[in-house]
Every structure is written in C-alpha cells, then in structure tokens.
C-alpha cells in the first residue's frame, strides 16, 4: 500500500542530522511504504515565537526539500501570526511563489486569536491547507499561546472556506474528536505522543472515515509505529486505505 504522511519534519536541528540526513530520513519513510510526505518545517528550531528572518530560514529549508525531492515532498509554509499582517502576507506570497502548498501554525499564538485573520485570508486566497498544531490544554495549561482542540475547531468554523487539519489526534483525545464532529472543513491527523490504543477507531466512528488523515510527526515519532496505529486498528482495508492515503490526496488535490 502506498502511504501519504501529512505530518513530518524532515529537517530537525535537535538531532544534528542537517540536510545530509534527509536522504536517510526519506529512505526510512520509503521503507515503510510512504511515497509522499508533507514537510512542515523545523518549527521549534528558534523557540515558540521566531522572528521574520528565522521564519524565512525555516521555510527556505522546506523549499530546498521540495526542490530536491519534488516527487516525494509537499512543503507547507511555517508562519508566526504574531509578527503581523504585513509579515504574514509577505511570507505567504514568497512561499507560494516558491512552491509551498499549505500553511503550518505552531505555538506562537492560540488559533482563536485575532492575528489568525490574515493567515486564514491568505489561505483562502491561495487555496492552501492549514495545519494547526493542537493539544489538550487540560494538563498543559498554556492556552494563552497553545491551541486546544476547541480552539482549532473555532478557527475552522470562522473560516469555512479554508481546509484545516487539526494536528495530533492523540494529544486532542476524545474531547477533541467530539469537538471536531460538526465541522466539515476540519480534518484530524493521527499523530501525537505514544500510540494510544482505540483512538483512531473512535475518530473514525465519530468523524467518518473521510476526515481522518495518517500523520507521523517523524522524526519525533517512528514511521512504523505511526502506521501501526492504523493497520492494527481493526478498521476495514478500505477505511485504512482512505486514512493512509486517499483522504490526504483529496485534501492536497494530488492525483
């Protein structure tokens, strides 16, 4: 089965691999049947709120990945919405021109904040998918700048013409799945934390097979482990195929 991974960070400064390590990272993905992946950038390389130059550097790395491995990699443009409307528009325009196909939001701000308006407006204008980091804030208690599942859902509701991926099913948990239920322009990726049992099945039961996307969060997570969350789920083969590939192809408008 060929697989599309919607949540990866092929370049990750923490592990010291650099650009030289990308080849082995992609080989590792291929060995697990992943023939295409979404590169989201090394989003925490400069802390949670990088400046414009740091954002450009991260996105330049993603552009390099896309240009070097065009068959294998779709790149998303990483943004810090708190840098303001002009900075957001400038970076989005630059990255779209360079071939990036979506937007990645991390923990510079909460997804419900007003600074998300230009981000979502630019996504709508360029028909870009938005992947929003999300995690349950019940225990973490950083909701001032860290997005809770309900905040990601609110973002998607406010901008119904933008396709939003809420990252980290495992971090969002049952509450996150329930919040996402009535929001048709929101998908959930299966990444996040250790592979907690029965969550993928629950997400499919509540959201339907069409709104769950396979994502690994590699290199933080193991490709083989992330895939086993789907293949050991007890879901039928057609549903597994949709999660592992077809849903993402439709969402990213790939053949």
């Amino acid at each position: 089965m060929s697989i599309l991974d919607v949540h990866t960070h092929p370049l990750f400064r923490d592990d010291g691999r650099g650009r030289e390590g990308v080849k082995s990272f992609l080989a590792s993905a291929r060995s697990q049947g992943i023939d295409h992946l979404v590169a989201l950038g090394d989003v925490l390389a400069y802390g949670r709120s990088p400046n414009a130059a740091q954002i450009r550097k991260i996105n330049d790395d993603t552009v390099w990945l896309v240009k070097t491995y065009p068959e294998m990699v779709t790149g998303f443009c990483y943004l810090n919405p708190t840098l303001g409307e002009r900075a957001v528009w400038r970076e989005v325009e630059r990255c779209v021109e360079l071939g990036l196909r979506g937007l990645k939001l991390e923990i510079a701000n909460n997804a419900r904040d007003a600074c998300m308006r230009p981000v979502m407006a630019s996504a709508e204008r360029h028909d870009l998918v938005v992947l929003q980091h999300a995690w349950s804030m019940t225990k973490i208690r950083q909701r001032r700048y860290h997005t809770d599942p309900e905040d990601a859902v609110l973002l998607a509701r406010r901008f119904p013409n933008v396709r939003v991926i809420m990252a980290h099913l495992t971090g969002c948990g049952v509450r996150g799945v329930l919040a996402a239920r009535s929001c048709d322009n929101l998908w959930v990726d299966t990444s996040g934390a250790a592979p907690e049992a029965r969550l993928v099945e629950y997400a499919v039961e509540q959201l339907g097979a069409g709104r769950v996307l396979y994502g690994s969060d590699a290199p933080i997570r193991d490709f083989a482990v992330a895939i086993a969350r789907i293949t050991d789920s007890g879901l039928d083969a057609a549903t597994q195929r949709r999660i592992l590939r077809d849903n993402a192809c439709e969402l990213l408008r790939r053949p």
Binding site: D15, F25, S28, S31, Q32, W135, S136, T138, K139, I140, T170, G171, G173, V174, A193, A194, P195, E196, A197, R198, Y202, S216, A218, P219, I220, R221, D222, F223, A224, V225, I227, A228, R229, T231, D232, S233
Partner: protein, 252 residues
C-alpha cells in the same frame, strides 16, 4: 520472530476506551500479533486501596496460561507489603514484581523502597518500576499524577547496583540519559520513540539494556512489533531484543 513482551496488563482501566483483557483474551490478542509470551500485571491493583485482591486474581486467572508470567504489584508504603510479597512469591511463577510509585505515593528514596529492594534481592525476585502508565499530559482532568522523577530513579539505580532492574515507560530521552549511566538498568521500549527508534537508541545504549514491550492494552500492540521489525536487526541481535534479554533478566 519470537517475542517476549515485558509490559502487559489485564483488567479494566477506567479513563479510556481500552480493551478489558482477561488472560485468555490477552494471550489471543498477543498471539495474533506474533507475541508468544508476556509478563502481565493487574490493572485492578492500580487504584485499589491495596493490591492483594488483584494480585490473587492475577495468580489464579493466569494458571492455565503458561505463556503469561504473572507480575504482582507490590506497594511498599502499606504495612502489609511483606506479607503480600510472601503470599505472591509462594507461587513459583512469580519471578518479578512491579511497583507503581506515581500511583501509590512511593518515594524511590524512602526507607520502605530500600527495604523492598533488599527483600527482593534476598528472595531472588526481580523488580520492575513503572515510570508512567500513560502520557502525563493525557491523565484524567481530575487526577494529578506525574511520572517518576528521573533524578530519584537515577539515585535509586546508583544506590542498588547489585542486580538488574527493569524500568517500564521511559521516554527515548530518558533511556538515553539513564542507561549509559547505569549498566544494570533494563529499559522497556514501550514509550521510547524516534523515527528510527531502535537504531537511534543503539547509537547510545547497549543492546543488552533494551527489552521489547508493548504496554498492551494502553498502546497499540502491533506498534511495538513494528519498532523491532523495522530496526533491521537480524539473528542473535534481534533475538536479544525480542526475547533473550528479558529471559536472562528473569532467570533466578
């Protein structure tokens, strides 16, 4: 691949939609995924006032399943822990006991803990320390449960270098920090993860210090196999990781 699982549980966990396994269903579930043996502890011991009843049920219910090695839970904070250990270890299958410091209020530097380690050594029974049962960020909102402190665990390991000690639930970064410092630490792989988990760990940790573990039913069982199978290990190195390290640990 013959696999011997260092971390499985039977019984009910009230805070997630997990499968409530009996020894029969657990063994069938593991076999379907290529795991032919496992050590198993009772979830009912986690929140019970004392673990005795859960341990008795574990020992009784696993009798017909020689592939399952029963691992009772001991709480050294309770006044009856020596009696409980005595009762449990009368069963010749008991080669290992598990402690749950975060759930049972056990300080690793406390006198009861030191006494338990000493008593186990005298009896020739091994000890497993469960650092976490689930990701602490996902605990029930009404609970405040933190994983075992790495500093306390490191001190315990340093204070008792005489025999191997199994630690379950360590994250990748914790395995990499602790294992090179403590040669007698055996780390279960259930929570350790990186994009090439096993090779990544083996760059820093001796193979003899790692054991295969699924942490069923909390985590996806086949994910544990996938980590090992995708590691590229072959022959005796694969056998060490999948079952021999745990077999050696459990030998009297």
């Amino acid at each position: 691949m013959s696999a011997f699982d260092a971390n499985t549980w039977i019984g009910r966990w009230p805070f997630a939609f997990l499968t409530e396994h009996s020894p029969r269903t657990l063994m069938a579930h593991l076999r379907e995924r290529g795991i032919d043996r496992a050590v198993v502890s009772p979830l009912d011991a986690v929140f019970a006032p004392e673990p005795g009843a859960a341990n008795r049920a574990l020992l009784r219910s696993t009798r017909l399943f020689p592939e399952l090695v029963p691992v009772p839970v001991i709480n050294p904070v309770l006044a009856n822990w020596r009696d409980e250990l005595e009762v449990c270890t009368r069963d010749q299958r008991v080669r290992l006991v598990r402690v749950l410091p975060s759930y049972h209020g056990i300080s690793l530097g406390s006198r009861p803990m030191a006494e338990l380690v000493l008593e186990l050594r005298q009896r020739g029974v091994r000890l497993a320390i469960q650092v976490r049962l689930i990701d602490e960020r996902h605990e029930h909102h009404a609970l405040r449960i933190k994983p075992v402190s790495m500093r306390d665990l490191s001190r315990l390991l340093a204070a008792h270098p005489e025999g191997p000690l199994l630690v379950s639930g360590l994250l990748r970064s914790e395995v990499i920090t602790l294992a090179p410092q403590h040669a007698h630490l055996l780390a279960d792989l259930s929570f350790a993860e990186w994009h090439d988990t096993v090779q990544h760990l083996l760059a820093k940790v001796r193979l003899e210090q790692l054991v295969f573990a699924s942490h069923t039913p909390f985590l996806v069982t086949a994910a544990a196999n996938a980590k090992i199978v995708s590691s590229g290990l072959k022959g005796s190195r694969l056998a060490s990781l999948s079952h021999r390290n745990l077999e050696r640990f459990l030998q009297p």
